[in-house]
Symmetry: C2
Subunit: 81 residues, 2 copies
């Protein structure tokens, strides 16, 4: 089974990389972009049996390694493949 993890900065925190990308898009002629926020996307292939246990384990991985819980939040989606 596969876990998809989306790690993003907490709302309200300045996303310098996003601001830079927004400026670059504008200078390339793309209008109408109000805001860009950048995060990480991780795909984890797991040997787990159950969705619930997998989600709990991946949440622990996020807390310990994949995200910085002080400034980042994460979302986990489990895919039964």
């Amino acid at each position: 089974m596969r876990a998809h993890v989306y790690v993003t900065l907490k709302p309200g925190l300045l996303d310098a990389q996003g601001k830079t990308i927004k400026s670059a898009l504008e200078s390339l002629g793309f209008k109408g972009v109000k805001e860009v926020r950048v995060g990480k996307y991780l795909e984890l292939d797991l040997n787990h049996g159950g969705t619930k246990a997998a989600k709990r384990d991946v949440a622990r991985m996020c807390q310990k390694l994949l995200a910085n819980p002080v400034v980042e939040t994460y979302q986990i989606a489990i895919d039964q493949r």
Copy 2:
């Protein structure tokens, strides 16, 4: 409206960052992780009217700036908010 963009390395290419994360997870005691692949996740707030036009524009942004089409692929999801 909001566009969600997922940029990942093309399948088959070595993901060194992913391999490092996998080793780190193992050394933290997380068993059963077969593979980790790392990508970028971007949220773009757009002024666009139509979903179709927005998706086309975001695809052009990916080709020009957000992804490296030589080694990366991208997926776009449009969210009507």
